[in-house]
């Protein structure tokens, strides 16, 4: 019996993904645990491991195929007992009980040039789209592909209203890829906006870019946000960091300013729990832990926010170690979904890029995001006289539905106290 390998759901919300790469080809023998493919979602690239051992009979979805639905059959594996699929020629293996199997398996295993034929079995499966008769007719008339339309009827059935919505949205038949792309504003083409075709190169939107576009647009438009900015003197923090790092040198751990910021944020959230919250129509969720999401930019574009869970319970060394590991794997797009989904508060640090101050966009459903600027020597007034101090500007963007100005200010004040006197972090 052959085993069907299905498109895995890498997160509870994943509906489809891109089959980025195959690591095996038809005829290859795989062991459970072998990496057989890479799946790209809107957030990350994940490796798919074989769950059973056997011989790959056929790859049913070509590498690079976008929008592969979760649970679609992507490959077939001949089961343990039939590892001998290619051995159809060897007569001794053809037991009567499996008479028909080797015949079927053999061609798939032998013909390495199979890819050309691969799309067929998928559609032969008759991936049925549930749609009302009227919706089918309207879609046909409008030249819309039912498969691209999200049904709002019972059990996701495509109904008349869905076709009308799709027709209203995309007159230019934009291949409504899961409806993720930035909304209506895109209706006008670049040409219509005076940028001639051919005067630019078009980079296709990958999953991550679509997600950033959608989430940031939604957040900036729908969340009533406001920034609060303060300056912090960090000479004390830098001195403490030097001491700490000297202590940790033997362990090979190096604590960055960002790690200290994460720790200070987590402790400040414990003191001002109102800032560690999320808005929902049913009420305000007060989070039990400070799960700090840190924005990591990815070479070649995009960013992702891996999470230090329950950071208020973790020591600096642990935070530093975790942050380093998460950042490295984030850049390699190797994060697991649970490592970047969730989070109750975000920190975005652009200090190393020389940015003095900025206000990030709320990372829903978190109520706050802290934007950290560069620490630099600046003139300050101390006891009525000019002095020089290392100053860092931070901006807290708040979701006003949850965090009012006063709460934001209280959080920043607690945060400032800890940054300017790191000893207070351990009290």
């Amino acid at each position: 019996m052959s085993i069907e390998i299905l498109m895995p759901a890498l997160s509870p919300t994943m509906e489809e993904g891109t089959l980025a790469k195959w690591h095996v080809k038809a005829g290859d023998t795989v062991q459970a645990g072998d990496v057989i493919a890479e799946i790209e979602t809107d957030k990350a690239t994940m490796e798919v491991e074989a769950v059973d051992e056997g011989v790959i009979e056929a790859l049913l979805v070509e590498a690079g195929t976008e929008n592969v639905k979760v649970n679609a059959v992507i490959a077939r594996l001949s089961g343990e007992g039939e590892v001998a699929a290619p051995a159809a020629q060897e007569d001794k293996k053809s037991e009567p009980s499996k008479s028909s199997q080797p015949e079927q398996a053999a061609p798939a295993a032998v013909s390495k040039a199979a890819p050309a034929a691969t799309p067929a079995p998928k559609s032969a499966d008759g991936e049925r789209v549930f749609a009302s008769p009227l919706a089918r007719r309207l879609a046909q008339a409008a030249g819309l592909d039912l498969k691209t339309i999200q049904g709002s009827g019972p059990h996701g059935r495509v109904i008349k209203a869905d076709i009308e919505a799709a027709r209203g949205k995309a007159p230019a038949a934009a291949p409504a890829s899961s409806g993720a792309a930035a909304p209506a504003r895109q209706a006008q083409s670049l040409e219509q906006q005076g940028i001639p075709a051919g005067s630019y190169d078009l980079i296709p939107l990958d999953g991550m870019r679509k997600t950033i576009a959608r989430r940031m647009t939604d957040s900036f438009r729908d969340v009533p946000h406001f920034p609060l900015t303060i300056d912090l003197e960090i000479d004390g923090l830098l001195a403490a960091r030097a001491k700490i790092n000297a202590m940790l040198e033997k362990d090979g751990v190096k604590v960055s300013v960002n790690d200290l910021v994460i720790k200070a944020v987590a402790v400040a959230l414990k003191r001002v729990p109102e800032a560690n919250a999320s808005y929902s129509p049913d009420g305000i969720a007060m989070h039990h832990h400070a799960d700090i999401a840190m924005a990591v930019s990815i070479d070649g574009g995009g960013l992702i926010t891996p999470i230090i869970r329950a950071a208020e319970t973790k020591g600096l060394a642990q935070i530093a170690t975790e942050a380093k590991d998460l950042a490295a794997r984030a850049r390699a797009k190797k994060l697991k979904p649970e490592e970047f989904q969730g989070g109750t508060f975000s920190v975005s640090n652009m200090g190393m890029m020389g940015i003095k101050s900025f206000a990030s966009i709320i990372n829903e459903p978190q109520a706050c995001i802290l934007s950290v600027g560069a620490g630099e020597p600046r003139p300050v007034v101390k006891n009525g006289a000019l002095a020089i101090a290392t100053v860092m500007t931070v901006t807290l963007t708040c979701d006003h539905r949850v965090v009012d100005g006063a709460i934001g200010a209280r959080f920043l004040s607690a945060f400032k106290a800890m940054i300017e006197d790191p000893l207070t972090m351990i009290v």
Binding site: S132, P133, L134, A135, L138, A141, P154, I159, K160, A161
Partner: protein, 466 residues
Amino acid sequence: MDFDVIIIGSGPGGYVTAIRASQLGLKTAIVERAELGGICLNWGCIPTKALLKSGEVYEQLSHLGDYGLSVSGAAFDFAKIIERSRGVAATMNKGVAFLMKKHKIEVIAGEARLEKGSPAPKVVVALTAGGARTVTAKHVILATGARAREIPTVGLTSDGDRVWTYRDALAPKAQPKTLIVIGSGAIGIEFASFYRALGSEVTVIEAVDRILPVEDEEVSKAAKRAFEKRGIKFRVGAKVTKLSKSKSGVSVALEVGGKAETLEAEVAIVAVGITGNVENLGLEALGAKVDRGHMVTDSHSQTNVPGLYAIGDVAGPPWLAHKASHEGVHCIEHIAGLKPANLTAPIPGCTYANPQVASIGLTEAAAKAAGHEVRAGRFPFKVNGKAVAAGETEGFVKTVFDGKTGALLGTHMIGHEVTEMIQGFGVAITLEATEEDLMATVYAHPTMSEAMHEAVLDAYGKVLHL
């Protein structure tokens, strides 16, 4: 908080909502100032159907010869007919009481008034048994229904003696020999049909130029002819200028086509529409929005007052029991966080006169006005085998399609038991069937429902039996 949800009014909107609420695990109470089951069960849908059945059977007796039968001494006892109708209402009323008990819904007998509260208004009940009780819940649903509209300026006010509303007409002391029915909507036509079947002289007055004005024009015309054949008189395009009581009963002054006219009868029934029960609920103090006697609600039946919802008649037309139940179930499922389908399915309307009238969706005129390129089909029962065999050949089925998409926009029927046939097309419209699916459906033979198939075929020039 005493309850998750309190429902005010136990008509088909309220009690069905309560059952659904209980099924969803919500602690539910229902407040009722009169009988469980509301107007529908006690003073509306159900007891009128009992009366109409008596009338229909009696009327059949005069046609027994058509079937080769004869009976002598056919007669009726008016008091017993009324008694049967009241008995039917009582049975249904007990059924609701049983359902409330079964679903552990607390029934609070009394009249409710709302006071400011959070997260929903407080409900103060003046108990029928005396005293008051204040109950609170997270959600309060108004399902207080509606009552007959009266127009005092021209004397259209019931007195229970000579001028009746539907309520008086359901349980009169005696059968009037002569009767004027003001208003030719479903309620007016049903009473006209019942009293005429028992031999009363009935005249129906309608302000617009046709009877059953919400129905398709062809149906209005056929209905008028069918009722006239039974001896009901009509004054259409007639404006009542004054209703006054006279020695013999009532005197109704009319203006028909600019000419004044006066009609006399023992009794007049006022059936000129419905107005929502929005009074004495404390809505003004809450700042609840009320528009022309009805609560203003959104697509999930929410009012502008937090935690307050309104469903059914009190939330506006169509004033139909099944609309109230449907809206109520949607409302409570939405409250419970489910995602019920939008309330877009068309609502069928039925008139249980003899013959019956049933319709769903757009009339031909409404479809044209909405810009559809209409394809209409018709099929008369007089050539339908089952109808001929049963001697029920009156009436027809009409279909209205969108010519471009094949969407079934509406259907309209008049004839024997068509109120039982309309659901077939209701399912089709809700499932967004096109003419192709309806043509491909196999209808049992012989049935009167075959006329539905033929009316579809007729719209596309494929009718078989004409």
